[in-house]
Subunit: 334 residues, 2 copies
């Protein structure tokens, strides 16, 4: 039945009216007699007709879809499968669905500075959400000059934040995590993770802040990419190299989990010998052994905020960057 009925014109033919009338009838917009409207709608439904969105979008000058991009330029490039990002993406999906927008998802390894303008200029999306600044601050900055409907997840205040940025106060987060350990008497707190993206750099700053405030010398900085290699012995060896370490601030929960495992392989117990604090509070964090003490970022709020800001920007408003609340969640690992 639902064979060859693909366009408004097809329906129009069957109903004995013009495409214009069908369009109006289906939209319920203009003054179409109730009788005609009902008949058209009925025909449309019985044939399983659906309006072609591409044509509709062309005419209306919009796409009803939002581009979500994850640049993977930085050295510590987390895969998109990092639980933190996937949870955030999940929430974004929900929020966009509620506003009847689709999500065009892509991860890009920036080879040149065009990855962003390509998407913006393609006419495929009405707005863009960039997840992670990566090392692309200049590109984001430049883009923001000419392209308004864009919101970035990351460390607000990185660069001169000419773009609208949503994120937590990572410096405070790093400080909280570190203070938690220092205040329990630990004196050789190591930082495990990199600092090659603004968010992580800020966490590390907070780590240093806490040490300074407590008048304790910072511990070693062990560099581990967010997407660290399962089998790599680097972390283990670094830990062996620093037997004085008596606590650890990890740059993310995934790193924390890896660290806990590496510690156990070195014969050190968590939290007795070495307490570990993670970052993100990913969904698994509460379920592993030991349950992770970590810095929780409220992703539902984060996603809603980004979407709200984006839609306001799409309407032409100017919006400032926003900080999302954050808290230390006390569990077993520290």
């Amino acid at each position: 039945m639902a064979g060859q009925v693909r366009t408004l014109a097809d329906i129009a033919l069957i109903a004995g009216v013009t495409p214009a009338t069908v369009s109006r009838a289906l939209a319920g917009h203009a003054k179409i007699s109730e009788k005609t409207r009902r008949r058209v709608v009925e025909i449309a439904e019985s044939h399983g007709f659906q309006v072609n969105q591409t044509a509709r979008n062309l005419r209306l000058g919009r796409t009803l879809s939002i581009g979500v991009v994850v640049p993977l330029g930085h050295e510590s490039a987390q895969r998109v499968s990092d639980p933190f990002y996937t949870a955030l993406i999940g929430h974004l999906m929900d929020g966009l669905a509620r506003r009847d927008h689709a999500m065009l998802l892509s991860a890009v390894t920036p080879h040149d500075s065009r990855w962003l303008s390509n998407l913006a200029g393609s006419g495929r999306v009405d707005g863009i959400i960039v997840l992670c600044q990566s090392d692309q601050d200049p590109v984001l900055h430049t883009m923001a000059q000419s392209y308004k409907p864009m919101v970035v997840w990351g460390e607000a205040g990185a660069g001169d934040s000419s773009y609208c940025c949503v994120g937590t106060d990572n410096r405070r987060g790093g400080r909280l995590a570190t203070q938690h350990l220092l205040s329990s008497g630990r004196r050789h707190v190591a930082y495990v993770g990199m600092t090659d993206i603004p968010e992580l750099a800020a966490r590390y700053s907070g780590y240093l802040d806490a040490h300074q405030k407590a008048r304790v010398a910072p511990g070693p900085h062990i560099s581990v990419p967010l997407a660290f290699d399962p089998g790599s012995p680097e972390l283990r060896e670094a830990l062996r190299l620093h037997p004085e370490i008596d606590a650890i601030v990890a740059a993310s929960d995934v790193i924390a989990m890896g660290t806990i495992k590496a510690l156990s392989q070195c014969g050190r117990r968590v939290p007795e010998d070495v307490p570990v604090v993670g970052y993100d509070d990913v969904s698994l964090a509460a379920h592993i052994l030991p349950a992770l003490t970590t810095i929780r970022q409220d992703l539902a709020t984060a996603a809603d905020t980004m979407i709200d800001l984006l839609f306001r920007r799409m309407r032409g408003e100017e919006t400032a960057s926003v900080r999302i609340p954050l808290e230390l969640v006390h569990r077993q690992s520290a």
Copy 2:
């Protein structure tokens, strides 16, 4: 500079030619003099011009994007953030990007049977990949009659598989996991997880198969949704209720991790008292304590296969369902 140049016509005006010529020049297709071509391209680039994809797609009758849908109809509805799915989505993203297609991602909670035909008929995508059959086998079946470019991840052989289905041999996977435990002498192997989607039902069948082959009575079946609640005490209580359990087959890695934690809360050690086998081999599986023994599904292959099949179907070919290899990965937990 890049101000008001948005259409082919704008470029044409500047170059003193017609839009037709600009189109051909940029496409490099037809017979355009090298001189004209070079000039047009130069003008286009200097103005940062990009072809409007919506218009292009309308004209060409395609969208260059693929819909990836995750139905969440089943009771055990895993969130999209289940690491298994996110990893699969990540690989799909890579594969689609290689073929210059975008990914339109959405999760739907099916309220009626139209969630799929809505997407298919919207004209927003050229093809659809459905991740998980959920409880929507009938919908998939019906859809496959009229809509060809669709591939489903799940248990091939569920229903009558009128649709093209890619997945592992879940029954065999369940059998392997169970045999591993039985062959080490365990006699009260419990299954933790649900059976409300075809994949899981097959894993459970495999679990039963192994018992039958070993002439051992199956252990208890503890029902836990894939997205089980962090704080819920159900699992813990079920374990207390069955002190005879001396091994566990979990329906997924995430469940396995939760189970390991619950076991420890009951004072039982893994793997000494109760070995646990997971399913999926998610990226974290190797990194937790104890490292998870699990059934590995090769997701890179899976994603490539699905994409390959989908594109063949988009070209009009018929394709049969495909089974992806699977293996038991032996680590510490069992």
